[in-house]
């Protein structure tokens, strides 16, 4: 039974592509394309200026190359920066007007767009290539005053909020990929939680790259006003293609006084085939700003997909007593490469941060934890605790830990631990003695290894993630 299940799951099950006619901007990166995107989205003038400013800046920036996983040079002129299903030229008003093929796609992916089929009460905003497709549960959220829509819609309907916060955490003067995103971002999600509102359900975005030769550049902006709370989930898949595709999203979180944002990601982009051909380059910039007092931002990520994952979800702890957390599981198999971790920048007094990172590498893959803990001179009484553990399976893979620790405050404490090991023979023996086969035993032990992080995920996601952990490692034992 289990064998069959594994057999079914072994191949990347999200690898199909949907045959939908798409409407694309001309290939290449230039001012015309940026104007085209801005124009088609009917954006106000200030935003176009903002994009063009970012593009000016991009021209002088150089692509960073300090990361561990190297990749062939990306030809930015050979990419489509805008791709939308053709039927989207006139945006559908409700779900009934959606292209049935699209609905079919999301059904295959297991994303319940149809509200009537909803079981677990998660509001979903789905992004297909460049355009946000549908947002469910809108009415329930509107009642509470919560704004959850695509960023394009927010630009039209809530320009004040967007103008105030867009780029306030990731400015257009940031690093190469973030600035690229600022210039050409197409769609993404926007969330605003009004003061003292606890969002009644999990909010969720689902990203899907369908068309070939496209880069996906979403921009997510989440604002939690004073005393509010929101939990946000993000999931991603892409079809199997031989060429590499670029995904360079920007995610900005802003938590005001006493607000809390919980951001969870299950990233399962197409990782490429067994020989390392194809797959997504996942170069994402995620940054949260704890702007107000007593605010809290918590990142949880399960990274199993992508040919190359290169991201550092970070927290800037500006408000006094603010808290930043980072929980991560990163799994690489075959020829996958990951360079991921976090940055905790302590600026306010009594700020706390916690980092738990679990890395598992198998096959011929390479995994790096890279992190920064920076306690500034003013951040007195701050503490950080970091734990990063790596598990190696086989001797063709690599596991690396590169933490940067900067302490400029004598009243603050930083503690860091890291270990690297393999699955102990004793544990395996114990499990096998009790009737589990080797693969089951490894699965059990790995799940135990990841438990601290899996616990942080919302329930529905945790189950999925646990399965994903198992699948990602199939074939790596023995």
């Amino acid at each position: 039974m289990r064998d069959k299940q594994i057999e079914d799951l072994k191949d990347y099950k999200y690898g199909f592509s949907t045959d939908i006619e798409s409407f694309k901007a001309p290939k290449g990166l230039n001012e015309e394309v940026i104007k085209f995107i801005s124009n088609i989205k009917k954006e106000p003038g200030w935003l176009l200026q903002w994009r063009l400013k970012a593009f000016e800046r991009l021209k002088v920036l150089k692509e960073p190359n300090w990361q561990k996983p190297k990749y062939p040079k990306i030809d930015y002129q050979d990419l489509y920066y805008y791709s939308a299903p053709k039927s989207f030229k006139e945006k559908p008003k409700n779900l009934d007007e959606l292209d049935p093929k699209l609905l079919e796609t999301y059904k295959k992916l297991g994303i319940p767009l149809q509200e009537q089929k909803r079981l677990n009460g998660i509001a979903v905003d789905a992004v297909f290539d460049s355009v946000s497709v549908a947002t469910t549960f809108k009415d329930t959220l509107t009642e509470k005053g919560i704004i959850f829509c695509s960023i394009s819609e927010a630009i039209q309907k809530h320009p004040d909020l967007v103008k105030k916060y867009l780029g306030s955490v990731i400015p257009i003067t940031d690093h190469y990929f973030a600035t690229l995103n600022s210039a050409v971002f197409t769609d993404g999600s926007f969330v605003y939680i009004p003061p003292n509102v606890k969002c009644p359900m999990e909010l969720s975005t689902y990203f899907r790259i369908n068309a070939s030769d496209t880069g996906q550049f979403e921009r997510t902006l989440i604002i939690a006003d004073k005393g509010s709370y929101v939990s946000y989930l993000e999931g991603c898949t892409a079809p199997m293609r031989d060429e590499n595709q670029l995904h360079a999203a920007n995610v900005e979180l802003i938590a005001l006084d006493d607000a809390e944002i919980k951001y969870s990601t299950v990233q399962n982009w197409y990782p490429g085939d067994k020989d390392g051909k194809g797959g997504i380059y996942n170069f994402v910039t995620k940054r949260g700003l704890c702007k107000g007092k007593n605010s809290k931002i918590s990142w949880t990520q399960v990274e199993t997909g992508s040919a190359i994952t290169w991201k550092y979800p970070s927290c800037i702890l500006k408000g006094d007593n603010s808290i930043g957390e980072f929980y991560s599981i990163a799994i690489t198999n075959n020829h996958q490469k990951a360079d991921t971790g976090t940055k905790m920048i302590h600026l306010g007094k009594n700020t706390k941060s916690k980092i738990i990172s679990k890395g598992i590498s198998a096959g011929k893959s390479d995994m790096t934890y890279r992190g920064l803990v920076d306690i500034s001179n003013n951040a007195s009484n701050s503490t950080n605790y970091t734990q990063c553990d790596s598990l190696l399976m086989g001797n063709k893979c690599g596991a690396h830990t590169v933490p940067y620790i900067k302490n400029k405050n004598s009243n603050s404490n930083i503690a860091h631990e890291a270990t690297t090991s393999k699955i102990s023979e004793d544990q395996l023996h114990y499990c096998q003695q009790r009737g589990l086969n080797q693969e089951e035993a490894v699965g059990l032990i790995v799940n135990g290894f990841c438990k601290e992080v899996l616990q942080q995920l919302p329930m529905e996601f945790a189950v999925e993630a646990q399965k994903l952990v198992g699948i990602s490692l199939e074939g790596s034992v023995g």
Binding site: N395, A399, H400, N407, S412, H416, E417
Partner: protein, 414 residues
């Protein structure tokens, strides 16, 4: 600077008697340095303390020419009297005296090389600088099955005659099978504002043992870079202890290549800093063969506006199964202006390994201070006692009892 380097180099060549082969290598090294210049913070290894900037700010224009024909006087008063020992006395980068009076002369081979190994990694331009301007290199070979009876103390002295000068020095040690040596490298600076660039090469044969203790205690305003390269064969042991406190700036780099099975490397260090000093320890332990072991313990006490940096890297090759690697760095910050930076790094390509690192930094434990004060100590004494205990931990790792006692007295830890 380029012109200065070239004229100083020509002056050095014309006043010394290097072999043609040496001159050729020195020229290559100079060209390499001219190409790269002093390292700066753009390079990952120099991220925390930018030596280029520090030299410019504190010294300004450097003189690279160093007259190796001058006979320097040696003041015998500075010699350590507590223990009998062999001596190498180096003044301003020139070896003035070599005395191995306690050893059997046929068991040691001393020679001056007329050739040297070119800097293997091009990215370290300071090694190129050293190669191009250092004097002829002494090579000390300890023959098979011979153990040094008494420690060897290397006195590294600088005197008032030099200032704003770059002093380059190199020394080689070869330890044949089953041999052993204990070295204390003792810095004694009477000069101010020089840039001192040292390179020590150690080649350890099968079963060889190297114990190397580096002491920099006397307060001075020199800027130092000290690189130790250690290669180890089967079953060999290297122990390095660094006490870094006196100079204005020091970067101690230790690079260990564990090439034979059951070889092990121990690196322990103390940073005891005050005023505006900047000290760094950077280690590179490369596990290149099965069943090798490394252990590192670095502790820093940082006062005033001083800055301590620890960068440690454990590299495990895919061949090096059963590696055991450990790193621990701890720091106590005593002042609001003090700063501690660490980058403990693991790069691992083998699965059957046990590698871990830990790093902690913060203030002295309030509870411990309270405990001591409730027993009648004043706050100052309580703090001193705690710092003493904190650092003693590292000194206790020294495996040679006689030297441990000497160093405890010298540093003032009991």
């Amino acid at each position: 600077m380029e012109q200065k380097l070239k004229t100083d180099f020509d002056k050095l060549i014309s006043t010394s008697n290097f072999s043609n082969q040496e001159i050729k290598l020195k020229k290559e090294a100079l060209n390499n340095f001219l190409k790269n210049g002093f390292p700066n913070r753009k390079l990952e290894n120099w991220k925390f303390l930018d030596i280029n900037k520090i030299i410019q700010k504190n010294i300004g224009e450097l003189t690279f020419y160093n007259d190796y024909n001058i006979e320097n006087e040696i003041n015998d008063n500075i010699f350590i009297k507590e223990i009998q020992h062999n001596k190498i006395v180096i003044v301003n980068g020139k070896v003035e005296r070599l005395s191995f009076e306690y050893e059997e002369s046929d068991k040691i081979n001393l020679k001056i090389l007329d050739n040297f190994n070119q800097n293997p990694n091009d990215d370290n331009s300071l090694l190129s600088l050293n190669n191009s301007f250092s004097n002829k290199i002494h090579n000390i070979l300890v023959k098979k099955n011979y153990s040094f009876k008494k420690p060897l103390i290397i006195y590294q002295i600088t005197n008032e005659k030099v200032s704003s000068t770059n002093i380059n020095f190199q020394l080689n040690f070869e330890l044949e099978e089953n041999s052993s040596i204990k070295i204390i490298n003792f810095s004694y600076d009477n000069s101010e504002k020089n840039f001192i660039n040292n390179l020590f090469n150690f080649n350890l044969g099968k079963n060889a043992i190297l114990k190397n203790y580096k002491i920099d205690k006397k307060s001075n305003t020199n800027i130092k870079y000290d690189y130790s390269s250690i290669t180890q064969k089967e079953n060999s042991i290297s122990e390095t202890f660094i006490f870094s406190s006196g100079s204005y700036y020091i970067k101690n780099e230790v690079s260990c290549n564990l090439e034979g099975q059951y070889s092990s490397a121990f690196i322990n260090g103390i940073h005891l800093l005050s005023k505006n000093k900047h000290h760094e320890i950077r280690t590179n332990t490369n596990h290149l063969y099965e069943n090798t072991k490394s252990y590192q313990l670095i502790k820093s006490v940082i006062d005033d506006s001083s800055k301590s940096v620890y960068q440690g890297k454990i590299y495990v090759d895919s061949k090096a199964q059963k590696t055991d690697g450990y790193q621990l760095s701890k720091a106590v910050l005593l002042n609001e202006q003090a700063e501690f930076n660490a980058k403990p790094e693991l790069e691992i390509y083998a699965d059957d390994v046990k590698c871990s690192h830990g790093s902690a930094s913060g203030s002295l434990d309030e509870d411990s201070i309270f405990y001591l004060m409730s027993r009648g100590l004043d706050q100052k004494t309580a703090k001193e006692l705690l710092i003493n205990g904190f650092l003693l931990d590292v000194v206790e790792k020294i495996t040679d009892e006689e030297i441990k006692k000497l160093l405890k007295n010298m540093i003032g830890l009991n």
